[in-house]
């Protein structure tokens, strides 16, 4: 039995809109991946401990609240503290272009903004798995 790509899709912080996260989760499932969805309003601690228990290869963080510069780097930092530095983190949602360099400097591998095709997202994961 071969290894499967496992991805955790999570919604950090306080926003209640998860249509985007669910659309991405479906697309990854249809691309043959095992996707764990954690639901709304998760703290970075909850996301990181779920990711480690689930032994995922990637964490996808969907965020529309504007708190991305705080919450996304915090996830990366906690992963390092808990032995999960090999788990790759990407983000998506309403994230202004000028914030993306900062996020990438802080360990977010890729950021997908509105208008990204699902194929782009799937290809990114497959290329980096």
């Amino acid at each position: 039995m071969g290894k499967k790509i496992r991805v955790l899709i999570a919604k950090p912080g306080l926003d209640g809109h998860d249509r985007g996260a669910k659309v991405v989760a479906q697309a990854l499932k249809d691309a043959g991946m095992e996707v764990i969805y954690t639901g709304l309003r998760q703290t970075p601690e909850q996301i990181v401990s779920a990711a480690i228990q689930e032994d995922v290869d990637f964490i996808g963080l969907s965020i529309l609240s504007g708190a991305h510069n705080t919450l996304l780097p915090k996830v990366v930092k906690l992963l390092k503290e808990r032995g999960g530095e090999d788990i790759k983190v990407f983000g998506g949602g309403v994230i202004p272009g000028e914030d993306i360099p900062f996020l990438k400097e802080n360990g977010i591998m890729e950021v997908f903004t509105p208008g990204t095709s699902l194929k782009e997202c799937v290809d990114f994961i497959k290329d980096n798995a």
């Binding site: 039995m1 071969g2 290894k3 499967k4 989760a25 479906q26 990854l28 499932k29 249809d30 691309a31 043959g32 991946m33 095992e34 996707v35 764990i36 969805y37 954690t38 639901g39 998760q42 703290t43 601690e45 909850q46 401990s49 779920a50 480690i52 228990q53 689930e54 032994d55 503290e81 808990r82 032995g83 999960g84």
Partner: protein, 304 residues
Amino acid sequence: MDYIRIRELSRFITQVENQDIIALEKLESLCLKNPSKSHVIGITGPPGAGKSTLTNKLISEFTKKGKVAVIAIDPSSFFSTGALLGDRVRMQEHSTNPNVFIRSLSNRNHLGGLSVSTPDIIKAFSVYNYDYIIVETVGVGQDEIDIVKFSDTVVLVLHPASGDDMQALKAGVMEIADIFVVNKADIKNEAEKTFNIINYWINLNPRKWNPPILKTQAINGEGVVELVEKINKHSDYILNNPESVRFRKEMKAKHELMAKLYLVVENLVQQKYPEFFEENSDKIIKGEIEPLMAAKNIISGVLK
């Protein structure tokens, strides 16, 4: 448990899930040294009955007494082989509790309500000294009953209006319950009807352990303390009446032997003739060979 040990267990489970032979051999040697002391509780029932929500509440109760592991299984896509594992959504409040470990599994197209590796993952949690291991099956229909072989106590969760007495009389999932739960009991009339049908069924099938029936509302925790009492009572019962689980243990041993035989043969075939499946399925499609012939040919080659 510190972060390093959690990470180690998590990675070990991945290897076991992928049926890596070296990891499985390590697991078996650990099992021989540490006989299981865990209580394995199977939670089964149709999709949407409230298994995950009920499991969430059971975690709250069991963590008062010990460490809890949860294995939550969801179906994979027949077409893409991918899966969306969503049981965890109901249990995230326990995500940061160091005494709780939740692992979501895809059934990887395996029938029976569990994945192929679930029995091995139960053992992995057991050797890591989890006191309670809750196994939540795929949402089941009438006959996905492998869970009965691998748990000490099976809780069948039904929802109100789940069928008339004719459904209850059929063989299959109704027969494996050690405890019946009618969840969503706030839907009063329908819950009462389902309760009565199960009660009728129990009276028609008297056994040494007569499964109790409970009404719960998992969403607000109503009835969960009573459920835990019944689970503990059943645990005591099987401790005092080991002959009552003899049949289960026999079925479990047979199931495990078949599964491992399959694994060993599959690995041998992979090593000696990796193109076997591709070449022969092509021949079967073209009508050049029949499957039994192909299987016998490969086995006589492999086992030489």
